[in-house]
Symmetry: C2
Subunit: 273 residues, 2 copies
């Protein structure tokens, strides 16, 4: 993550005292995600793992279904005249026969003109997307494993320790083994990166995984977990009302305030041993 | 903020002990923002102060310049058959002669096809937008006032205390007096609401105000502050690299980690007394 961190001069105030020092900043830069040369999204992200981010984003939106849909992920050449710009675009070219519903992306998929806009419609859109109910029986996770997740996250979360400004998302197996961890100034990007990594390695759906996020659980993060088949999401922070609704509707396990040996179970208690 | 909070049953785990109880959730629902009947944005937000949110968003994007641009803000009637949907759409109708560049909104304004995508281009786009350099001399804020901001925020931040899941944004005068405070599951929405409120009351630009945000400072929040002419942004959390760059480019004062009697000055030290 060294590319993700910058040093900058600051004045540090403590009470009435002040001194000049250096501070570490989490890098934020836009990433343009293109599909076949067409811009589909621009997200403010921390550079690094951009191909995973693009793949994970497109997978989470239902645009990509399988890694075999992808012919190549590359940096567009047309923006290469400036090194700072060059690293802020990714193009995903698709194999022959793979069709993309660009209109859905443009509409932002959880609005449908026929049913209006509300949380219920947002959830129904996930079903229309083809999001399955997750199987109730898998996996079982021991309570001690869950208590141990935040510590495991912190051990590997290098950039946050140094900048205080980075979200993390990590995938664990049901036995607590770390599958992968990614960091980003945007929490949705961190999730896209860690899921995108597994997607590109052809290891989705992630039916035996737990997704831990360093912040809060929103509708958007639940959607991404659900699209990847992840049956359990654990958040160090609070869940929103819509996150809880999504979890209950799709038989996901949702845990909040997972820290200091405590957590709340909002849905899917039967997966906790 | 009672509409912004829901009660839900949870199982609370403490070590190996578990008990059933009730928990409070921050409500998350989509809001469709329309201009003259045309959908320009859908944001996941906490219901409440939706007219301010719509106005603040459109002002921050440079679509609205003055409250007099607005003929009326209303709930579209076409989605009123369902009470849950009815409250999730807002339509802003414009006075005759007010022209809107819808294309800019669709492009997401910080990308310009001519110059590629990077932080530098994002910042240049703000200049093209007409964002002015802020005057260096105003306002001066005493160090003690800054130390007191997080406490003032907490005193009025009702929903966060109860849910742990809400961001807050507050405007203060240079002497520490609270102008307004808004809460939302999305930190950008909280900023849109509090600035939108001042915009609708014809009190923008906010040349003598300090904007305090409960989380981190990103490019997007700096952009919103800048468009409103707010010369000082104080974040309880960390700033990103691009937030610092925007502050330095436009002579804004940016403070980070404002808590426990300490803070870092990233830019615009001359405004601190």
């Amino acid at each position: 993550m060294t590319r993700g961190i910058l040093t900058t001069p600051v004045t540090r105030i403590d009470g009435a005292a002040s001194r000049s020092t250096q501070d570490l900043l989490a890098v934020e830069e836009p990433l343009e995600i293109r599909v076949g040369g067409r811009t589909v999204s621009i997200t403010m992200r921390t550079p690094g793992n951009d191909f995973e981010l693009a793949a994970g984003f497109l997978f989470g939106e239902g645009i990509l279904r399988h890694a075999d849909d992808i012919r190549e992920i590359s940096r567009p050449e047309s923006v290469s005249e400036n090194p700072r710009k060059q690293e802020n675009s990714v193009d995903v070219s698709l194999n022959d026969g793979v069709e993309v519903d660009f209109e859905r992306l443009e509409r932002h998929f959880y609005t449908t003109s026929s049913c209006g806009v509300c949380g219920k419609a947002s959830i129904e859109a996930l079903q229309i997307q083809g999001c399955p109910m997750l199987p109730r029986e898998s996996p079982m996770v021991a309570m001690d494993v869950i208590h141990g997740l935040p510590g495991a996250l912190r051990r590997d979360q290098a950039a946050f320790e140094r900048t205080g400004g980075i979200h993390a998302a990590a995938l664990f197996r049901a036995n607590g083994e770390l599958i992968g961890l990614r960091e980003d100034v945007g929490r949705h990007n961190a999730v896209d990166k860690v899921i995108g990594s597994e997607f590109l390695a052809r290891r989705t759906p992630l039916g035996d995984a737990v997704l831990l996020v360093s912040g809060r659980a929103s509708f958007e993060l639940m959607q991404k977990a659900l699209m990847a088949g992840v049956p359990m999401l654990a958040a160090v922070g609070a869940p929103s009302s819509l996150a809880v609704e999504v979890a209950r509707r799709f038989s996901m396990t949702l845990l909040g305030f997972v820290r200091d040996g405590r957590f709340n179970i909002y849905s899917g208690e039967w997966r906790i041993q």
